[in-house]
Homo-oligomer: 345 residues x 4
């Protein structure tokens, strides 16, 4: 078993990391780190655990340590669920201290020498680690996953991009409250309400989509326009996607490409890889957030309502994925698994 | 005072008609008609009133009558909140019997000789009544309002269309549960959920938008693509709109065009006309469904987040309007007022 | 494997029966029966499956049959999720045809010769079957579970009753929307709302509590007063309970009695029996509906906030249980398991 | 016009004070004070106004000042919406500086020389001001309203207490999220959830009810037991109440006593006094939070489902009131009006 630390372990994404790593075949959480306020308390006390499964017993007993390479010792991999304003410096410290950091934070996602992996799509970007180590003169590494709405979106985009080409894309999101962490969105702001704004999300969706679908060094050249909205759902980001393709794209042919799509995680049979990264439904009113977000244990994107788009000339469809699993901790764990089999740990 | 009948008066939109006509300066509800099941009971009993203001005392005491010209006698105007499957034939019967029917139903909206009025935009289409009377050999008339999501959307589109031209448009909606009537959406289908489908809504948004923004006889030639979603809000349809303009359209210039936009209802000072059909906000996270849906007594569309669209090259923005007021009964009452001052009653 | 039929299989509780019986070690669903409207279609089509786990493949392919002993042949046990207005006659027909019917319907619950089992509490009432068969001259039998709110409530009451005696009890419920079935509660009635009334629920809670805690022939003599409310939660009935005890009851002693409480299902190690029928928490703000309803796979009642009651002189506490699992289909399956090991099938 | 300051004006209750005082016939907000962070900004900027009516134009332009008698000058009355941890000292400072402070904070409610007024019930307690001034050697005064759930509850209790006597009382509350202020309850804690705990609320309900219904110097001697719960509603506290009366209390006689109940605010025709402090409904499923919370402009308690209670022997019923209007700022304004006509300003 490899020893894993979770940074920012008491927050919402940190808790999902702890939850997903319980009974993991390769990784074992041996260290939980969080901010000053939690230090010295047990994880059970400090986390105010808020998941629907019980806190893993062994982790509950652990003492929470400082978020520093000094305090976190003797682990083989570091999963970071830190808030982005903290993550920037801290993750660099860990990488400099020789650790491989698998991060959910946005701080380093757009760094040219940091791989931002949605591994079914761009596992090959892992090669950036060599460049990163050279540039930064460290033995560790930082690898990130994309932001939640981008992760969910890019899975079904990839087979379209490969088979039909993409010239441009418009997306409107309906994002769950858990995407804002805890305490996050005030209930007075979201009950019987939609908030048509999520700070920083639209630029992220646009640039991250291009980076993931591009090569390790060149972003994909197509244009992306997004409008991001918070709706009163707990988990699951639902997105209305309109795609302009290079070549004529029939909805059925697109569906077939999506259904056949697999990546390295599937070939390598990584423990957290869903059998199908993209699941296509033809039910007229699916995917629905509450009913479909756990597809593939929360690791698949469910696509529905595939139809011609009369404006862009390609296809339009609905995509739904679980924002804190596929869109955050689950993608992080999958990235950790990929790094392991590729001998980066 | 003109005497008004409300058809389908016990349903949700019917109740809003009754609510809006309380204390109306020109119209007085003197007859309420509903389906068999309500017949012979007082409106107070039959309606199971579910609004947040009390049922108007006078109407509560009225006996509910049949939905037929025979039972509804001696009124000057008929407001129809009938379900569309019933409205088709019934509204024709009323028009044939000489009544002017102002309808919220979709049954006749796309008939070439029926004006579908969002009166700030296309009050001139009222001229179709002459054609309608000739074609159908009746003395009455049928005038409709558009469907709720289209009504909200077309208000801000009109000044763009007039000033910059529109080549195409993409819209994703986040629609409230009241749009489905009562009982409508099952709570198990919408709590902690988004349903990415509303039966018939997308074709309606596409064809109705073209009809309203066109001339009385020719639809506007631009393409529309929509994706419609139900979200857990009570009232208020929020829409993410992406517009390709004919001419370069700067967000500030677009905002100015919207803010200056008025139509005949404003010029004529109709009682239900909002001072501003379109209200523009620059707050970063507005409009919000719960906070802004009552703008202009629920008769305005609030536009926010006006910005360049990198894909279509025009602008993108958020539009919000009250679906059962501006998008249904309120627009119907405004149409009735317009017909009155134009001497159609 | 014993063959099982589910009556009313397409409804919400029917779907939970099908879900819980997937991979059951003793029972296999071989027949699904539902109303006329579903007849002849596959279960997959007819059920409009609305659970968060996929419909079991084998059941999805089955053709739905009539709800009659004629159409349902060759099964060893019949689980009934019929609406109560239908259940009365139909369940009698099945019992007369020799079937053992395990019912969730209220129709026969209060019949003096029908056991209403919450089996940790009153499995001994199963003896009423002999009387029932004699009275009604049939070879089959009807056994019911209590209504959902009563099932959840009576688990923690039993150890209090046994150890301290109960003189009277007041309970206010906060019940989930799934308790009303599907489509059930209209969304317009429950978003941002509480409905302080559930038809028939209060009399049921009062009489059923007395029957379950009594002997097979005599209801428990203590008085019960309830106030039942529907709140905007999906699953899980939360109840505020105030108990007047016969003897001085210290909260800690009550907690201990609850924690030690087990019944025949635990002793017999029935497959659906939770390890602990009652789980006590001392967290100040627990149990919470969303976080705790799946305790014991949805088969336990979670009790929290145990404290002295200054008015009744006993204790007050919060009880939470899963209404469609423990409170309906899960209790039915547990009853089926009990009947099997007791050789009633 | 009397000049009014609002302390804590940017918070949720502060905003309701500002909203209710717009167009008030006697009071005009001339000063808004808030914490350090808001100082020097206009109220429009600092408040992040979150009400469904627009921010009053004149107040929006005001500069926010410090919460101190030094910064707040030249006003005739001070309305305090301060958080309780701040209010204690600050309100004393204002009273010492000669101001009459009408407070919504809990800090001084239980002080023996501070009147806690729900003015239909205990306006006579205003006499405590003399004692207060003597004790504390100041010219100003502190007057408070009760906590929100208590205010709603005590209105219907008063006519029962006067006519039938009360021996004891049990109440379970279902309280809205706005009761916790802003940001208050995290959305992840309340969507699809009930939280069976509100810090400090139960002791407050118990002691404040006794103080209000008692004489100026002696609390009412009956026992109160409460269980307080947060549910996913925006505004409106709904309460299930069980009352043990001294004398036989028939539900109809109780209803009559409630309907006839008025207090000094009605006799004096205070501007914010509702015509009926208690409105009784016999609809089987009312009052409902969303539909009935604005009764009497949010100043009445609506009582429904009046019935015999089999355990306590008196009556049980549902009470609903608006927590931020009647239960907070509205009661404060009413208290201010009462103090004015009684010449305390």
């Amino acid at each position: 078993m490899l020893k894993a630390a979770v940074l920012g372990a008491t927050g919402n994404v940190g808790q999902i990391f702890v939850q997903l790593l319980e009974n993991h075949p390769w990784f074992e959480v041996t260290t939980v780190a969080a901010s000053e306020r939690s230090k010295g308390r047990t994880y059970g006390e400090a986390s105010r655990w808020r998941q629907t499964t019980p806190v893993p017993e062994a982790v509950a007993q652990m003492e929470v340590v400082d978020i520093s390479p000094k305090a976190v010792k003797n682990v083989d991999i570091v999963f970071s669920a830190l808030p982005s304003n903290v993550a920037g410096k801290v993750e660099e410290d860990f990488a400099a201290a020789g650790y491989v950091v698998v991060s959910n934070a946005s701080a380093h996602r757009m760094d040219p020498d940091v791989p931002m992996l949605n591994p079914e799509i761009n596992s090959s970007h892992v090669c950036l680690i060599e460049q990163q180590r050279k540039n930064r003169k460290w033995d560790g590494a930082i690898v990130t996953n994309p932001n939640c709405s981008t992760t969910v979106l890019t899975l079904p985009l990839k087979p379209i991009y490969d088979k039909f080409g993409i010239k441009s894309m418009i997306v409107s999101t309906m994002q769950a409250i858990s995407g804002a962490g805890y305490p996050g969105v005030a209930s007075l702001d979201i009950v019987d309400n939609v908030i048509p704004y999520i700070g920083g999300e639209e630029p992220k969706m646009e640039s991250e989509t291009q980076k993931i679908l591009g090569t390790a060094t060149e972003p994909a050249p197509f244009k992306v326009s997004s409008s991001c909205h918070r709706v009163p759902t707990i988990d699951g980001h639902l997105e209305a996607v309109f795609v302009e393709t290079e070549q004529e794209a029939d909805p059925k042919a697109v569906a077939k490409a999506m259904e056949n799509f697999v990546g390295e995680p599937q070939t390598l049979k990584l423990p957290s890889a869903p059998e199908k990264p993209v699941v296509v439904t033809w039910e007229p009113d699916r995917p629905q957030t509450r009913l479909d977000r756990m597809e593939g244990n929360g690791m698949s994107t469910v696509v529905g309502r595939l139809r011609k788009d009369p404006v862009l000339g390609g296809v339009k469809f609905i995509a739904l994925g679980h924002n804190t699993i596929r869109g955050a901790a689950g993608c992080g764990v999958l990235n950790g698994e990929y790094l392991k089999v590729k001998n980066y740990l």
